[in-house]
């Protein structure tokens, strides 16, 4: 009974979350005369399917360049985020300095200013360091969005690690730094995975900074490049837009799911050992 309920809930959640993508996938292969007829079943091909609109994405837009830019910017931002936020979170959560409370809160304040305005003054700084119209400007700016939330998330995870684990490691001859790297970091692996997923997707989604700092087509990430080439005045290239959505969403979800596997597996192994 409970099992049936679980399956029902799981399938329902999957349908609600992925339903639009099923529709996107079908639409991407629809002919115009099929799509632009409101009497047609939107989930079936009422005329033969066509790959033309998907191919258009590759032949007439810089879609692959956009995807590549999003990918490498995201990867670098994730690395920078982890390199900065892991030590910071450890210091705030574990090293017991009196100023760690206020500082933690101060880091949080970053979010209270909407990026819809912050970009104006940030664009001066981007020009100041000579990165305007370069995708590297995004590598520089995006960690400001991802580091604070990652610090706080990791602090939460670090607090679930029992203190005796570090103490044991130090008794075993590691320095404090060594204990952090060897004993603590592996234990917050779930938190690190959460940060990776979070930082990458946040980066891929951002568009105001991307818009303000990067104008050349071949430097744009997906979130500004695709609308630029497929939303033309009051004409939307719907099928190609849907194709772009699906082509971005599926691989990302696939890779993240592999990550999630790792963290669940890692955890279960640890539990068996413990």
């Amino acid at each position: 009974m409970a099992r049936a309920g679980l399956y029902f809930a799981a399938v329902l959640a999957a349908v609600l979350c992925a339903g639009p993508f099923v529709w996107s996938l079908i639409t991407a292969f629809k002919q115009n005369r099929d799509l632009y007829d409101p009497r047609n079943n939107p989930f079936l091909f009422n005329r033969p399917a066509t790959p033309d609109h998907v191919l258009y994405l590759f032949s007439d837009t810089a879609f692959l360049t956009f995807a590549w830019n999003t990918l490498w910017v995201g990867a670098l931002v994730v690395l920078i985020t982890l390199a900065f936020s892991l030590p910071a979170a450890y210091a705030l959560a574990r090293l017991d300095r009196p100023w760690s409370g206020p500082l933690g809160i101060a880091i949080f304040l970053v979010y209270l200013v909407p990026p819809s305005l912050l970009f104006l003054s940030l664009s001066r700084m981007v020009v100041g360091v000579g990165l305007q119209d370069s995708t590297w400007s995004l590598v520089l700016i995006y960690p400001t969005i991802t580091i604070p939330v990652s610090v706080w998330l990791l602090m939460g995870f670090l607090k679930t690690v029992p203190r005796d684990i570090e103490e044991q490691a130090m008794v075993d001859g590691y320095s404090r730094l060594g204990a952090f790297v060897r004993a603590v970091v592996p234990l917050v692996f779930p938190g690190i995975v959460a940060v990776v997923v979070f930082a990458f997707t946040l980066t891929a989604s951002e568009f105001i900074y991307a818009l303000a700092f990067v104008a050349p087509t071949h430097e744009m990430p997906v979130s500004t490049g695709v609308p630029t080439q497929l939303v033309r005045g009051d004409v939307f290239f719907w099928q190609s837009l849907q194709a772009a959505t699906v082509l971005i969403a599926l691989p990302m979800a696939f890779v993240f799911n592999l990550f999630l596997d790792r963290f669940i597996a890692g955890f279960t192994m640890g539990a068996v050992k413990g």
């Binding site: 191919l55 005045g233 009051d234």
Partner: protein, 472 residues
């Protein structure tokens, strides 16, 4: 567009592209039907005008970075990029062209102005008066253009010149008219085979079509650009306006109230609540779906339908602005503004390019599939012939001929005064569509909504007047 990419990046992209195409071709092997009607790209015709070239007035060198919108005709952008680069090669200037989605251009300009760095010349599809303090006065450019080609279309001049400061904050070489688009097969049975010609005919015919054929009228009252345009057209036709010639706020008038009352009636008899939900693409799509009897739009909806749904395109016809009690006026659909920010060094390059571009406006008109019209009519001598015999597959071929004389029934945003920073903010915060929408929904009386709108508009005008940018 990719010429300046490093070789490594280009080759990597080629590999990626090839791999992507191969995967797709394989996966699409089973479903290999072609798009009926040629897909998103349509073949271009071959009678493009010859391009002219005149030596610049001074020796040029260095760079020129251009930013403009992604034109709704993709092949226009390809033409433009080639055209700009070709000019650069002749005069010794390294030209780069960037396109972005038009909705994102104001954000981009704001960032560049704040940073004091960016593109040398930027084009937008509406007035850019709010940037006046940060852009060059282009009077010399307009004077030179007028010396060469005669007087500029007043509509364009009023959308690039601020009489309060005497400065040309932009250069406006082109515009796009905003005719009515109607479905002939729906209007013929109700006795208007030639489409409506007055607002009263529109009310009568559209109500009848809705009653007898279940197809509604499509004039937006939403927070988007087409609604902004059409509702102003209605106001002008009733003799109402936001401001007078001297930039005084005059919206609170019996004429505005009458226009609001008329729109409310039109909504109740001929429309559905969809008109409150629209974005700029909605009326195009509704027309193509056969769900709308009449819309006001540029020719883009119809041009797209030529590829995506030819029977609908063939059934779509155009009418000029509808006559109201006082006038027959429509807003321009698009008004090209080119600005050169003050921080720009390559000023001469930018100005010479704009002159060269204007001199070749016939090509712009042609490659935009007769979408772009020139502010100097003499520069597009074939325009009339093209409109009367469309080179891009209109059926019948003379469908666009009503656009030959579009100037007398077109007006700038801000008419009868100039477009200004205040008018721009009123436009961008959707005061006019919301005024009409509140009355149409019955949330408040026409008198009330007009006086509420007056309050908002007056506050905006007072603010910019205090900043010295608005007269009156």
């Amino acid at each position: 567009m990719n010429d300046d990419l490093p070789v490594t990046l280009r080759s990597r992209r080629d590999i990626l592209r090839a791999a992507g195409l191969a995967t797709l071709a394989a996966s699409a092997g089973a479903a290999c039907a072609r798009e009926e009607g040629g897909g998103p790209t349509q073949p271009a015709s071959t009678e493009a005008p010859r391009e002219t070239f005149e030596d610049p007035r001074s020796r040029l060198s260095g760079e020129l970075k251009i930013l403009l919108w992604s034109h709704f005709v993709p092949s226009h952008d390809q033409w433009f990029d080639q055209f700009a680069k070709g000019w650069g090669a002749k005069v010794g200037v390294n030209v780069t062209v960037d396109h972005i989605d038009q909705a994102q251009i104001p954000t981009r300009i704001a960032a560049e102005v704040q940073a004091g760095q960016g593109h040398d010349v930027i084009q937008y599809i509406a007035t850019l008066s709010q940037y006046e303090p940060s852009v060059l006065d282009l009077k010399d450019l307009v004077d030179e253009a007028s010396k060469r080609w005669g007087s500029q279309l007043p509509l364009c001049r009023k959308s690039s010149f601020n009489p309060a400061t005497g400065r040309f904050y932009a250069y406006s070489p082109g515009w796009v008219p905003d005719p009515g688009n109607y479905r002939k097969s729906l209007w013929t049975p109700v006795g208007f085979a030639g489409g409506p010609s007055t607002w009263d005919e529109l009310l009568q015919g559209a109500s009848e079509i809705k009653k007898s054929q279940g197809v509604q009228l499509g004039l937006g009252m939403s927070q988007e650009i087409d609604s902004n345009m059409i509702l102003r057209a209605l106001m002008w036709s009733y003799g109402a306006s936001e401001q007078d010639e001297n930039e005084k706020v005059v919206i609170n008038s019996p004429e505005t109230v009458a226009a609001v009352e008329f729109m409310t009636k039109l909504y109740q008899q001929a429309m559905t609540p969809e008109v409150f939900s629209w974005n700029a693409a909605s009326n195009n799509q509704g027309l193509v779906a056969g769900k709308l009897s009449y819309i006001v739009n540029s020719i883009s909806a119809w041009r797209t339908a030529q590829g995506s749904n030819p029977p609908v395109a063939d059934d779509t016809y155009f009418v000029p602005a509808l006559k109201g009690p006082k006038a027959a006026l429509a807003a321009q659909h698009v008004l090209y503004n080119w600005i050169i920010p003050k921080h720009v060094k390559a000023v001469d390059n930018a100005k010479e390019f704009l002159l060269h571009y204007t001199a070749n406006f016939a090509s712009a008109t042609y490659h935009s599939k007769l979408y772009d019209f020139c502010a100097w009519d003499g520069l597009t001598p074939n325009r009339k012939a093209w409109l009367e015999s469309d080179p891009f597959g209109s059926n019948p071929k003379d469908k666009l001929k009503i656009l030959v004389d579009a100037v007398p029934w077109s007006a700038n945003i801000g008419h009868p005064g100039p477009a200004s920073t205040a008018i721009g903010e009123v436009f961008n915060t959707f005061v006019i569509p919301n005024m009409f929408a509140r009355a149409a929904r019955g949330e408040a009386s026409p008198q009330q909504v007009v006086s509420d709108a007056e309050k908002q508009i007056t506050a905006i005008f007072d603010k910019w007047r205090a900043a010295g940018l608005v007269g009156g």
